[in-house]
């Protein structure tokens, strides 16, 4: 068996549920300091793939290997409890986590939640909630940060600010990032590799910078243009649905 330096590697992973194929023959490898963005429409199996990679769903076939003592920070899309229970930001970030004051303060500063640290979760705005979820995932200095559609509920400026934050974290920390994105064409500029997923890996590759693309500049402005890259799909096959059109 080859000794791999990969943080997580998945080979031939398939998931069948009620005889329906959710994931088909997925190969993916996440190495140190990688920045991988997985894109795909709804129903593509992105969340299922994350669950398999994190180890809380066993695939029907295939093999997933995780590096020993791998520390994963997981940022979910959202959390289900908001109003049922009173809890402050600080309590939420630290529940069931081993931490010391230094790392807590580091995370609070990094993600800029100093002002809301004692607020109740139920009164936070969408952008504030995202930063709080991010803070929690960073608290124990993970090797790999897994972000599940982190910007989905944010408006354009919220997205921009959030992506800037991720970029800073990626450059300052010794960390790998696996991001699942809802956008089928745009990914963060720091992305090294894009995987297009629709039950199987349709295509993959590196994105292209668009900082100079005049059309994009006029639509989204210079800041956004500097933050994002365009990914050109290179499918050599067709599906029964045109998922590039953003349907499904």
């Amino acid at each position: 068996m080859k000794i791999t330096n990969a943080l997580i590697s998945a080979k031939n992973v398939s998931v069948l549920k009620h005889q329906k194929s959710i994931l088909d023959n997925i190969d993916i490898q996440i190495n140190k300091n990688d920045f991988i963005t997985i894109i795909g429409p709804n129903g593509a199996g992105k969340t299922m793939l994350l669950k398999c990679l994190m180890g809380f769903y066993k695939p029907t076939s295939g093999r997933i290997e995780r590096k020993e003592k791998l520390k994963i920070g997981y940022m979910p899309q959202s959390i289900s409890i908001i109003n049922t229970m009173p809890i402050t930001v600080k309590d939420f970030i630290t529940v069931r986590k081993e931490y010391d004051d230094i790392s807590l303060n580091k995370v609070i500063t990094e993600v800029s939640i100093g002002e809301i640290i004692n607020k109740q979760l139920s009164v936070l705005s969408g952008g504030e909630m995202q930063r709080v979820l991010l803070a929690r995932s960073l608290l124990n200095n993970p090797d790999l940060l897994i972000l599940d559609e982190p910007a989905q509920n944010l408006d354009i400026s919220g997205q921009l600010n959030f992506y800037k934050l991720i970029q800073e974290i990626y450059s300052k920390r010794d960390i790998s990032i696996l991001m699942v994105s809802h956008d089928l064409h745009l990914v963060m500029v720091s992305t090294k590799k894009v995987l297009c997923l629709y039950k199987h890996i349709c295509c993959s590759g590196a994105p292209q910078q668009i900082a100079k693309d005049p059309e994009f500049l006029s639509m989204f402005g210079k800041d956004m243009a500097n933050m994002m890259s365009i990914y050109q799909h290179s499918h050599d096959h067709n599906h029964d649905h045109n998922h590039l059109a953003g349907e499904e």
Partner: protein, 233 residues
């Protein structure tokens, strides 16, 4: 999953019936059947045969009905009302010791698993991503709920146990700022409700269960107006 607590409460009547029938005593019967109910439900749920609520509905009411039949088959006529609505007069000093033990165990279990339970309540997926085994948590909850049902059966009655799972928590939700505070205040509300409720039931010569629930609901409405008064400042 508050329906889960209600379902365990329903199944307890089968435990009562079996306990009387087999002569093992009500407490053992209840604990045995409730635990069995919980394990059976979790096993069936894992196999994804039906939706959770449907499964609970079927199992809980089946257990309740079999329990009523078993009790009515008994030679000596037994007053079911006492089990449905509570009758403090049926509580013996032996029963009290069982209750003390049950409460101590329940508190210990919750205390030792507090942060895991809290994280699971906050978000299922987040808890799983951080390594909490959902089966372990479900079994833990089943055990604690079983103890709660066994302990409250004679005082509150199985029909209204769910009320005491929900109302004190709803009351303290308005008054607390952290999960720990919420648990403590809910406990306090529960204690006040039970004490006052029992005295009320003596005064009115009414069953203890409904009297306790009425007091707890009054406290709930008071907490609503309390928050309103605070906000006025």
């Amino acid at each position: 999953m508050s329906y889960y607590g209600e379902s365990i409460a329903h199944s307890s009547l089968l435990g009562v019936g079996l306990g009387i029938l087999l002569g093992t005593g009500i407490n053992f019967g209840v604990i045995f059947v409730c635990l069995l109910f919980g394990i059976l439900f979790l096993w069936l749920q894992q196999n994804k045969i039906l939706s959770t609520d449907t499964l609970l509905g079927v199992l809980a009411h089946l257990a309740l009905s079999i329990g009523i039949i078993v009790i009515s088959l008994n030679r000596i006529k037994i007053d079911i009302e006492a089990f449905l609505f509570g009758d403090v007069l049926t509580v013996s000093s032996g029963d009290l010791w069982v209750m003390y033990l049950g409460v101590a165990i329940a508190i210990l279990l919750i205390f030792l698993n507090w942060s895991s339970l809290l994280l699971v309540t906050i978000d299922d997926d987040l808890a799983r991503a951080e390594g909490i085994n959902p089966i372990y948590i479900n079994l833990l909850l089943t055990l604690v709920l079983t103890i709660v049902v066994a302990v409250s059966l004679q005082i509150i009655g199985l029909l209204l146990i769910t009320a005491m799972l929900i109302i004190p928590a709803a009351t303290s939700r308005r008054l607390a700022n952290s999960p720990g505070q919420m648990a403590l205040i809910a406990t306090l509300v529960g204690i006040i409700s039970v004490f006052s409720g029992i005295f009320l039931s003596v005064e009115l010569d009414a069953p203890s269960g409904p009297s306790i629930v009425v007091i707890s609901a009054i406290l709930f409405f008071l907490s609503l107006s309390f928050k309103f008064l605070i906000n006025k400042d």
